[in-house]
Amino acid sequence: MTATKSNGGEGQAPPSPSFSDQIHSFFSSVSLTIFLFSFIAVASIFGTLIRQQASPQEYLSVYSESTYAILSFLRLDDIFHSWWFMLVIGLLVVNLVLCTLPRFTRLLKTPPISKVPDRKALDAMGLRFTVQGKKLDDVSGMLRGYKTAHTGEDGRVLERGSFGRYGFYMVHLSIILILVGGLIGLLFGFRGPLILNKGETKNAFMVRGSVMKSQPMSFSLKLNEFTLALYPTGEPKDFASDVEVIEDGKTVLRRTIRVNDPLSYKGIHVYQSSYGSNPRFLFDVGGQKVELGQGSVYKKGNLQLLLVRYEKSVHNFGPGVQVTYLQDGEPQTQWFLRDVPKLRERTVMGTPVRLENIKDEFYTGLEVAYDPGVWVVWTGFALILFGLYVNFFIYHRRLYLVEVPGGVQVAGVAFRNREGFKEEFEKLKGRLGCS
């Protein structure tokens, strides 16, 4: 708020604030802060009530078509990445800067205290007492923890916790840092899943977003081994991927990625996020061992096998795979069941085909992320905790010492935490023998 003061009595109208002043006072007002914070809170509530980033089909199964049209028009299906949410965050940053900066410059310009308040002001202070028969230096020497801010003919001013005044600025600066760091990550970072089968090497992953697109990496990742340990209950205890980082054809790093223990290389983090398994089928085709995956085709001479479908349990007869093949020009589809001897082996075009075994082969689900803003955010985190501590637990207070006939008068004032200071003041009084 720009305060307008008239010089009084001269009949002159105060100059009306210019347009730019009005704009400035709007963007720096506390009311705007409260509005923006409340707006973020309400938008966040909607964000937890409406499913975010789901597919159109998922929305249409819950909402009517017209409701969904409104939701997607207002970006309520992806609130936290919508332009208006970004706008509000941006406004909050501007508002915090404009609120904080002038106060901070004013604090820096405040001259150090240069005199003791006059008698009247001292007598008005609620907390005061007089030490009988002591000199000013003796009293001030007994007040440990306090620093002398001023000393002169008129008395002495002692100060403590003046650093506490900076907590406010640290907290506000740290919120700006966290928001800016988040914005950097949003604008320049990317993330997405990377699935690797055993032995497979990839140098790109799919970036998650409204459109999935492939993002190349400056290096390749190869999965050597995936390991899974289970609890007796069958729940996963630990899963890990043994990977190699390959750059220019050379292995530069070999490491195991675990949950809670990502790999980081050149700013890119690779996380263990999930796993899954694919069935592998071991066939004996005319005395030859072959290993096939689901959907794959096997060809040998005029023999052709297509593995169509896998079932963990076919009518309670155990696992099996459905195979399509040509028998004398006629297409046929048959189940091969591992645990039923009669249905395990068939003769196709004169060649005996036998399902030897079915085993699960695990693949690893990694998450690749690049976020250049994360260190800015970490700095903000550290600063906000330190700032909150400084702001709430270090408080600025002063003691005024004045020589009076027969002793020294001590008066105290705290600019924050007056209740806490009252207790401290009583203790000081006791220590100086005046309780």
Binding site: V30, I45, T48, E235, P236, N260, H269, E367, L385
Partner: protein, 273 residues
């Protein structure tokens, strides 16, 4: 049934017992009853602590080995413990009969729900890999100390709205001081809880912030208490208005703790089992 479950079931009855002692005190108004109440509260808190440690030890005996802070049952037990802990630590400011009665009533409700509701799983489950981290301890601890501080603020605010007799509740000034001072403790703790959670999420899930319902609601609660502090310190709000703010804030805390688990699903779903 584990030994720790039995101990904690006894602790639940002790909280009920504490409630009855308060009733006796209000009926007789004898100071001796109050002295006996404090001894009972210390005993209950001691046994409560033993129960938590026993559960910790038992998890090691099952070769699972983790702090008792990982599922809904344990969080309820731990929250009650934090409330009793705060009551004892702040005895000088909070130690008034109506305050201790309501605090033990809240502890009783949570302990009773944890111990006797069939929908709450009391087993010591093994930890899924994402939870196997040292961040777990500091994250849960800071969050629940914050929740307990907000509960103290809520009780103080609630009592300040009504007129009770002298000596039953703290005086109005003390209540107001307890109200905002609890927030002054709770707010940095909640901040620390959210931030340690974010750092942990960065290492476990690959992103420090995913707008998961628990995260989002903790942010809403954080924003609310930030507004509370600004209303108190920047605008000098006092009395009834600040008390109402504190009550609304605690509703947000309760929703962050329970509502998200039961109504909304998300990455924090292990908290509801």
């Amino acid at each position: 049934m584990f030994l720790s479950n039995k101990i904690l079931a006894i602790v639940t009855f002790l909280y009920l017992f504490l409630f009855f002692i308060h009733l006796i005190y209000f009926a007789t108004k004898r100071e001796k009853v109050l002295g006996f109440m404090w001894i009972s509260l210390y005993t209950t808190f001691g046994l409560h602590t033993v129960g938590l440690i026993a559960r910790w030890v038992e998890s090691y005996q099952m070769s699972i080995g983790r702090a008792p802070l990982t599922n809904f049952y344990e969080s309820l037990i731990f929250y009650s413990w934090c409330i009793a802990f705060l009551l004892i630590v702040m005895k000088k400011r909070l130690g008034f009969p109506l305050m201790t009665m309501f605090a033990s009533l809240i502890a009783l409700a949570f302990m009773g729900y944890a111990s006797f509701s069939p929908s709450v799983d009391k087993n010591i489950q093994p930890l899924v890999p994402a939870l196997q981290s040292n961040w777990l301890h500091i994250h849960v601890f800071t969050c629940f100390i914050a929740y307990a501080a907000f509960a103290a603020s809520f009780l103080a605010a609630l009592f300040s709205l009504f007129n009770f007799g002298k000596g039953v509740v703290p005086p109005k000034e003390t209540l107001e001081e307890v109200n905002y001072r609890s927030v002054v403790v709770g707010f940095p703790m909640l901040s620390a809880g959210i931030l340690t959670g974010a750092v942990w999420a960065h290492y476990a899930w690959g992103s420090y912030w995913s707008w998961d319902p628990k995260e989002t609601w903790s942010l809403i609660t954080w924003i609310f208490y930030a507004l509370f502090l600004h209303a108190r310190f920047a605008r000098g709000w006092k009395g009834r208005r600040i008390a109402i703010l504190s009550i609304i804030g605690f509703i947000s805390v309760i929703f962050t703790y329970f509502g998200v688990n039961f109504i909304l699903s998300g990455l924090h779903s292990y908290g509801s089992a």
